[in-house]
Amino acid sequence: MRQTLTFWLRRAWVNLRGEVLVLPSRTLVLAWTASLLLLPLVYPDPYVLRVLALTCLFAIFAASWDLLGGYAGQINFGHSLFFGVGAYGSSVLCLRLGLSPWLTVFIGAGLAALSGVASAFICLRLRGSYLSLATLAFPLILTGLLFAFPDFSGGELGISGIASLAASRTANYYICACAMLVVVFGLAALADSKFGLVLHAIRDDEIAVRASGLNTTRYKLAAFAISGAAAGLAGALFAHLLRVAGPSTLELALSFQVVIWGVFGGLATIYGPVAAVFILYPLTEWLGSFRQFGELRLLIFALVVLVVLLAMPRGLAPWVRDKIEMVCARCKQRNIAWRTSCRLCGAPAGPRVDGVAPAAAAQSPR
């Protein structure tokens, strides 16, 4: 027994040293995960925990958008639809039917996935900007419907008095943080898998993919459904954290916000938008806490986005990653930028190949 334990521990250590610590980006992710999980033990300030819990939920939201927008190329301007469906779905079921919130968050996510499939159906034949603008309409149409049935949806007031998932701030924080870690790692794994590869191919040239014999419709529906489910989960957790769910979960500003996070972080990176949320959301919150210029928070946010975008048009994550890592010319694996030879195949590093990962290939100028 003890031998198996030491075996697994040693194996974990070897993996850690060989796979994770060799690349700065992975080390960073590890450090970030660890600090998120250990934070409440060191600094359990309820305000900070609340802000970070919201950040985690928005990070799920942004990551789900990236799957759809970055990988599948379906830039979704109405992503708040899934958020709102998850929020409303979970709160209505929890409040009206008295089900446990632990169950309803998943049902809410499921409903959001269904709305994703419905959106996908409508958008199947649409391309590019048509698709983006059609998706813009969906949450707004749903808002109109909710206003038309105020007895069911609470009208512009929404639903309030929703039960929370856990009693203490710390417990809620851990729920949000763990949910985020699971979803983000899951989406990243999905994006790196064959599924993600096909999505990427669809984005670049759908006709070619169809010519290769793959059923692109099914892949697109799946992408919408998975993205919707993740965003719906974020929405449901949000409703239970704030204990209210209203039409603000479907608002246009939220859809725009997630597009900003997605592109600012870097399309098709999953970790990029997550990083963008973790940088931008606490920043705006911190700015808002100043009495003197708290009102400037949105202005400063927009300026920061604009300025950074001018410097890094492909987004934050690709730019940072390219600065600290490079791709080996021979075996195409990533290395730390300042190595003299590849860690895997030993090829000399030579003139720096600008670390362009195949997945984040250049945006085709149209």
Partner: protein
């Protein structure tokens, strides 16, 4: 009621046509979805308010100056913010969103969040076909028609208009033919901003001016342009009339449902897209490789 719908629809459509045309021009030529388009409309309304009410210039002069100011601002923004990232579509998109937010916040900080009203240039109402129509609305209609006619003239009877149309048709070929695409794009940006500014100055007196007034028209304009077909100028005008009349019919025919007019317009857009994915007069884009 028919007369009401006819007149109201006409005025609404005129305004929408002004805004949609500018938006369609930018998209057709530069393939940019300019989210800040209606924000320029808002800025024009505020600038007009400031010139008219604070500096007490006369309405005509204030209007001209407001339009000129907004066009200048748009050109500067295009040069500083959009051009550097032209190659990255998504970056351009975010840049326009960020610009719109910046404009909104600047207006919020300068003028406060309260709603402002601009006195009409022409007071009084007239009765036509039994419908009470304030003169200001006729002014709007007149200005809209004038602007549309002027744009048509520029597009079809001047060299720069030819360049614009050629670039809209095919950017690479136009460049090969010797057209300075960069300058054409700037021209279009200015023209589009000018149209939005004219709309802002004309419509401001009959609407409520607030820093958030750009969001609702943006959604309607997007619906119109998509409905009419992205990149098609005629489609934009057609879409403007369709949506303008749909909204008029909704509010007159369903008094208890007039809050739905936005949702109805969007539903129509989605319905049309289901049947014809390129919009009514749009061109199906070849995936440019």
């Amino acid at each position: 009621m028919i007369a009401d719908i006819f007149v109201t629809g006409l005025v609404n459509s005129g305004v929408y046509a002004l805004l949609a045309l500018g938006f369609a021009l930018v998209f057709g030529v530069a393939r940019i979805v300019n989210v800040a388009h209606t924000a320029l409309y808002m800025l024009a309304a505020y600038l007009f308010y400031w010139l008219l009410v604070k500096l007490e210039l006369n309405a005509f002069l204030a209007g001209i100056l407001a339009v000129a100011g907004i066009v200048a601002l748009a050109l500067v923004c295009y040069r500083l913010v959009i051009e550097p990232v032209r190659a990255h579509d998504s970056a351009v998109l975010i840049a326009t969103i960020a610009l719109a937010l910046i404009f909104q916040e600047l207006m919020l900080l300068s003028f406060g969040g309260s709603f402002l009203g601009i006195p009409s240039a022409v007071q009084g109402v007239m009765h036509v076909f039994g419908v009470t129509v304030p003169y200001q609305r006729l002014v709007i209609l007149f200005v809209a028609a004038l602007a549309l006619a002027a744009t048509w003239y520029v597009l079809h009877h001047t060299r720069i208009g030819l360049a614009v149309r050629a670039t809209a048709n095919g950017m690479e070929i136009a460049e090969l033919m010797g057209i300075n695409v960069r300058r054409t794009a700037m021209t279009v940006a200015g023209l589009s901003a000018g149209l939005a500014a004219v709309a802002g100055v004309a419509v401001a007196p009959v609407t409520v001016v607030s820093p958030l007034m750009w969001l609702a028209p943006l959604v309607t304009i997007l619906a119109i342009v998509v409905l009419g077909g992205l990149g098609s100028i005629r489609g934009a005008i057609l879409g403007a009339f369709i949506i303008g009349y749909v909204e008029a019919i909704t509010v007159f025919a369903l008094p208890q449902g007039s809050y739905l007019k936005g949702a109805v317009a969007l539903t129509i857009m989605v319905a049309v897209l289901l049947i014809r994915p390129e919009g009514l007069l749009g061109v199906a884009f070849e995936d440019e490789r």
